[in-house]
Point group: C2
Chain length 254, copies 2
């Protein structure tokens, strides 16, 4: 039986999603919990990696099991074995063709910035604090330039290899509530560090560090040096993943 | 010179506000930072204690200093010496008659409850998770009974001593947004654990554990056993303190 799950995690205490030698990962914690529960050595497939410190409101992962635990009960059973900063918000049976990564159609990320005099301690792990004003309108204009199908070669960390650097972005906008600025971007896929470099470039424009039009210029030149800084990981959140037959928003009920 | 400050802290990692032998407190951290900054052994006076795990968006504290640091610069200078879960959000000069505790006129606390299927990991340190539905209207009716001047003897931890257990509550209500229930209470003072017992009693009514009218009955009997459970500390937040010449909401600008 193939099980798919929606997972929320506060990434602060993890070196990211994917199992690696130099620290505890979210994937590893859940695989350990699965082993305790089923006695099976299970490999969990996530919809994509999140880096050290990055959060997820809705990561999707699937695994195959011979366990007789009902599909919808895995969430409850696993949560009893998991630390409180990782919660399985949903579990259910999926078709054998479902694959968390390969059948994903759209993903949405959010990047949160706090602009103010002193940092709100309750937001310290989930937003980037900036001690200077941000020009919301200027950032919004940069965000609009992202929508569409573009070569995002300028917006990936140097040294990474992809078959193609062309991606389609369906939505890209900033919202503001009091002193919190949130960048939301929905696309068919993202290059390594793409959202953090997009957010970092727009924040640089919003602070007046680089000139307006930077996103468009970098999209045209495909040159990493035309884009701005890579924004720190702790402001980033994987918010939603959409499949042909599954949408994380539906099961999270928000 | 007397300095007053507004302090926000995530109480998760502290055994409360007030200095005590069995763990690190918020007061202690700030007094240490003051010593580093001024070289003076300074005693910080808070508007009131908060227990282990309780949070503050706006705790008020004052101290006297001979330092030549400008009053409004203490916040910036202290924050460089403080852990990120404690932030001085404001500092300024106060009259020598100002006293954080004795001149406070009103305080507002909030208690947050999350009702749902699985606990949101991002709210794990700042709300009580309840895996059962809550009857909002029933809780609201209980909250209304709190408003006014009453003997709150039933709503304090047994064994505590006060000159009088009569307090005046100006506001007492629940709000609901998605699956978050927030109880707000504003009064001229609170007995030890009063807000947590009020919240706990209303939650017990909201879950159907005790009968509607519990708050009124406990106010009339002044008997602790007529009230409900003491809600856990981590859902509680000191939100606002008001003085004749000072309101924390003004300086927090929200």
């Amino acid at each position: 039986m193939r099980i798919r799950m929606v997972i929320s995690y506060d990434g602060t205490n993890y070196v990211g999603w994917q199992t690696q030698p130099n620290g505890i990962t979210v994937q590893e914690e859940i695989e350990k919990a699965l082993f305790k529960l089923t006695g099976e050595k299970t490999v969990l497939h996530g919809s994509g990696r999140t880096d050290s410190g990055v959060h997820a409101r809705a990561q999707v992962a699937h695994f195959d099991t011979n366990s007789r635990i009902p599909a919808d009960k895995f969430s409850f059973a696993l949560n009893t074995h998991l630390p409180k900063d990782i919660r399985i918000m949903y579990s259910g049976e999926a078709d054998s063709e479902f694959h968390s990564r390969f059948t994903a159609k759209r993903k949405t990320y959010c990047y949160t910035v706090q602009s103010g005099v002193h940092e709100d301690p309750f937001m310290r792990n989930t937003s980037l604090f900036i001690h200077s004003p941000l020009d919301f309108d200027a950032m919004q204009k940069e965000a609009q330039a992202v929508v569409g199908t573009h070569d995002f070669a300028a917006f990936r960390s140097t040294g990474t290899v992809n078959k193609t650097t062309v991606r389609t972005v369906f939505e890209s906008y900033w919202t503001k509530k009091e002193n919190l600025f949130v960048y939301t971007v929905c696309g068919d896929g993202f290059l390594y560090n793409m959202v953090r470099i997009l957010a970092g470039t727009m924040i640089d424009v919003g602070m007046g560090r680089i000139e307006a039009g930077a996103v468009r210029r970098a999209l045209e030149s495909a040159d990493r040096s035309d884009a701005g800084a890579t924004a720190p990981s702790h402001g980033l959140m994987l918010k939603r993943v959409i499949y042909p037959d599954f949408d994380t928003e539906e099961v999270l009920g928000k």
